[in-house]
Symmetry: D4
Subunit: 169 residues, 8 copies
Amino acid sequence: MVGIIVGSDTDLPNIRGTVEALQLFGIPYELEIASAHRLPDRVVEYARTAVARGLKVIVAGAGAAAHLPGVLAAHTPLPVIGVPMGGGALGGLDALLSMVQMPKGVPVATVALNGGFNGGILAAQIIGAGEPAVLEKVGAYKEALGRDVAAKSQRLQTLGIKGYLGADK
Amino acid sequence: MVGIIVGSDTDLPNIRGTVEALQLFGIPYELEIASAHRLPDRVVEYARTAVARGLKVIVAGAGAAAHLPGVLAAHTPLPVIGVPMGGGALGGLDALLSMVQMPKGVPVATVALNGGFNGGILAAQIIGAGEPAVLEKVGAYKEALGRDVAAKSQRLQTLGIKGYLGADK
Amino acid sequence: MVGIIVGSDTDLPNIRGTVEALQLFGIPYELEIASAHRLPDRVVEYARTAVARGLKVIVAGAGAAAHLPGVLAAHTPLPVIGVPMGGGALGGLDALLSMVQMPKGVPVATVALNGGFNGGILAAQIIGAGEPAVLEKVGAYKEALGRDVAAKSQRLQTLGIKGYLGADK
Amino acid sequence: MVGIIVGSDTDLPNIRGTVEALQLFGIPYELEIASAHRLPDRVVEYARTAVARGLKVIVAGAGAAAHLPGVLAAHTPLPVIGVPMGGGALGGLDALLSMVQMPKGVPVATVALNGGFNGGILAAQIIGAGEPAVLEKVGAYKEALGRDVAAKSQRLQTLGIKGYLGADK
Amino acid sequence: MVGIIVGSDTDLPNIRGTVEALQLFGIPYELEIASAHRLPDRVVEYARTAVARGLKVIVAGAGAAAHLPGVLAAHTPLPVIGVPMGGGALGGLDALLSMVQMPKGVPVATVALNGGFNGGILAAQIIGAGEPAVLEKVGAYKEALGRDVAAKSQRLQTLGIKGYLGADK
Amino acid sequence: MVGIIVGSDTDLPNIRGTVEALQLFGIPYELEIASAHRLPDRVVEYARTAVARGLKVIVAGAGAAAHLPGVLAAHTPLPVIGVPMGGGALGGLDALLSMVQMPKGVPVATVALNGGFNGGILAAQIIGAGEPAVLEKVGAYKEALGRDVAAKSQRLQTLGIKGYLGADK
Amino acid sequence: MVGIIVGSDTDLPNIRGTVEALQLFGIPYELEIASAHRLPDRVVEYARTAVARGLKVIVAGAGAAAHLPGVLAAHTPLPVIGVPMGGGALGGLDALLSMVQMPKGVPVATVALNGGFNGGILAAQIIGAGEPAVLEKVGAYKEALGRDVAAKSQRLQTLGIKGYLGADK
Amino acid sequence: MVGIIVGSDTDLPNIRGTVEALQLFGIPYELEIASAHRLPDRVVEYARTAVARGLKVIVAGAGAAAHLPGVLAAHTPLPVIGVPMGGGALGGLDALLSMVQMPKGVPVATVALNGGFNGGILAAQIIGAGEPAVLEKVGAYKEALGRDVAAKSQRLQTLGIKGYLGADK
């Protein structure tokens, strides 16, 4: 089971990608909203009870100061994945640095800006570290990614760049 | 009473300026170390009991992810001043952004990088908002600042730039 | 009484949040426009007479070079809150750095980019440092913030992420 | 088993922290040098045979363009942790962005600049996701971190800030 | 023959400029899509067979982590031109740094953000280093560029700035 | 006479502000387009003949690499004002740094991003350094700026913030 | 006469270059220290009386928030040159942006970080706009700059790079 | 023949790497100092006569505003490689952006900050595009690079990380 948590409902459109990635591999998840600054007690409780609730990894999405994954990591031994939300006045650089620059002993596994989908893939990989069947699915997914690119390249050979772009626009 | 708290003892040399600033105005303080990520329960307890302990304002110094003042602000209605520590691979930009970009409803009053002394001045100003005698001392301090600059300028007129720099080096 | 001042009328839409935050707590305010560069004498006079006019704290919003809060702080012992305006070619990084990086002895309490609302909350907290009744209101406001997040999370549990996002869009 | 790989032997002093972190938990590891740009075939072979060699997770340290963890992630379903090396003309911002901004489907779990030690902690957490005994050790480690901070704070209470800093310097 | 390769079909609208630039000089090219992370084996094969296929230079466009040109350069002695794609949360700074900051011994010739057209011009100049006829065409093209600017300036003298801007808008 | 020169006709909408500023003070100007990279001989000739043509100061607008003012400054003793154009993938930071960071001995007087109008004001001030009548006009202009701000502030007192913003939107 | 003013005596070592540049051309100057934040009344008085004192241009050096040249520009019609001081936690980017990003109507002519010498050259050019003899001296200075570079290049031809570097080290 | 040119003799220690790289392949070069801003006529003449002098490619190193390679590219059809010099107040970001962000039609092939050696490798690759024997040497060099890394990795296996680091320190 993967715990997904966001600091604000404005993060949900991107974090939907986390859900979609987990669904690709049939991995169960729970999802909630709980701000590190506006509902901090719930965040602490969430992290403290995470192991007991059966979570294996937590994916936390947040923007701006983006303390959520770091606060979770302070209260649980589980791996915590941080998804920094892009946008805002600084494009998300604030959220990225705030997540990734965690102090010695308490890491957050940070993925790309607006990387909700990749947060889900990484969660699957982490579960796969202990469950070979999941790891195999991740391998198969990566191969499918390649086939998709190859198909696009093939289509480009057929249509040429003008045709390809015209067909898409 | 002002609460001063740092995330690591490596922040103490700069935060010593906070102590010195408060001593200028005879304002009592307490000082402790309590990381938001390594000793989080103490941070939560500290913030929750701050009003009852008689604190009027908290000054929190931290570097890198620098979540400490934000986490304190989540658990207390008191004003929280953040002192971002410079240095590290990114010069402190990470700490600055992580402190200042707090979400709606939960501000941190952020001062300059390595601004421990100014954190103390701001704490005095905040206490002064409710205690006219303190505010007067702040006013007197600011006037003294000006006299110090004026004296340096006068010395520059006397010595000339070569003499002034030679005298200092 | 809180003094609110902006460098340009283009800052008013964001600084409206400052007004709204103060109204939450029933704190009186005055509001004016007075650029540090285009109407500097008024800014100096404003700062110098601030204590006598009964102000406890000043909130100053400005963009780009954003010298306004620093210039005010130079002429008054009161705490000055800076609200850096985002936008412009550099997204507001110029305004943020210009406000926060004040020299030793003359701090500006800087909040987030476009943080007009948080400027008002911080002003209330500063007044609350000397008025317990205001501090209690701030505490109650922060609890209400938490209930709002909890309600959104509850709604998310009920609707699921597709339902929640669909309902909002 | 954790695979540790660096792009240059100049990364070894920091990546030594990864080794030390794994040793805390008694987790076996292998360590080698293999640049994505100067010895690319070895990197591809390393990644492709990683599962078969019994690796559960890979920690890759690199600086500047820092493609190593991304290239590894392209060739294995295992989770890959990236440790961006600080320093250089841009302080490590180049390495950080190059690691964290991976495209959809192929994440790298990025930790802090010069975060070799945290790369090891995160690797232990990932292994712990499938091995409860390791997770317990991580939990115990985090508690020990807190005790260390608390001891420092206690010492600060005893010595005062002048005594504390004097004792350290 | 110039090899043009992009990491994603979203890069094609900009890389169309590369094609257009090469067509100006009658230089043949091949074009395909092959991600360094999603179809890595094809990228390796592409680079390894590039000399044998008759390529003289490779133009690679990619965004975000943008490892494609660096990975190509690892597997071929040919000069590789990198076209970093602008946009995304960080405006393309990530792609630019990831391309340009290559390690000692394995350079990527990086051009401007979204500089697909200039990637084509540079490819022509590189071919021209060995084919004087191509170099002459580049010289003629640069002169034509100047005539175009001069014509615009002449038109500005005739119309005045109001007329010129009015005529364009 | 002020020489105004831009690197591309896309800079004209902003540089129109330079023209407008000069017209405020009745200062004659000439305006042309001449890229440092696409029409370099004209730029060199322009700079070399500037004194003889009666120019007192040059205002040069350019974006991206933005070498134009620096190249002009290399070929003339006249003061050269640089107007960095905002926009593009990096928001104009490239143009700003390229203009302002000139080497020892050859300064460019750089104004704000998209600061075409201010380029004209600065040109007037420079001419005013030698022509008291122009300097007086600049002084009068600055006073008018202040009156405009004061009038807006007065209007804000009358209408209140809701009324003011409503009236503008 | 050129007015030179710095915000702190720590700026004097760099601003010494301004003095040296002016001495090259025999231009008289006055020099003082007067912080915009710590001695603001003197700064206002300085600016207001600048024309009457016979100044033609002001050179102001400051670091960090670096409001000094902007505040001067607010109170005088004279051209104000800003010299942003490098160093500090952010390398001087704060000072640079705070100086250059002045609002519409009140420019500061900004030169390079630590560009004290260039501030003096620009001041001479501005005086030269009204005094042909000074402009001629600037032209002669620029030619001397070129001869110095040419001499170094000649020496490099003679010694070779090893000899040249060995001779210098 | 490769033309190597630097804007200042302070760039020579890094550009020495360019010389060393070319010597690896037995490629002749010429080397001189000629600033785009201090000796501009020589730069223009250098570029205009480059083809006639038998140059195939130019490597230009410069720091700060770093206009040199762009100015050269404006006056020659040859490919121009830019080596941005790191250091200075902004770490070299100014030089990097100024070189790489060239306008449409006039590219500069930019390599890493302080990448003098890679500038030489790229120059060899460009010459190799027309001379298969040089290209083969580049290929052999890249293989040697790999063997060097492999040897270091082998040594690491033998000594262990403590032994390896101890042996180096």
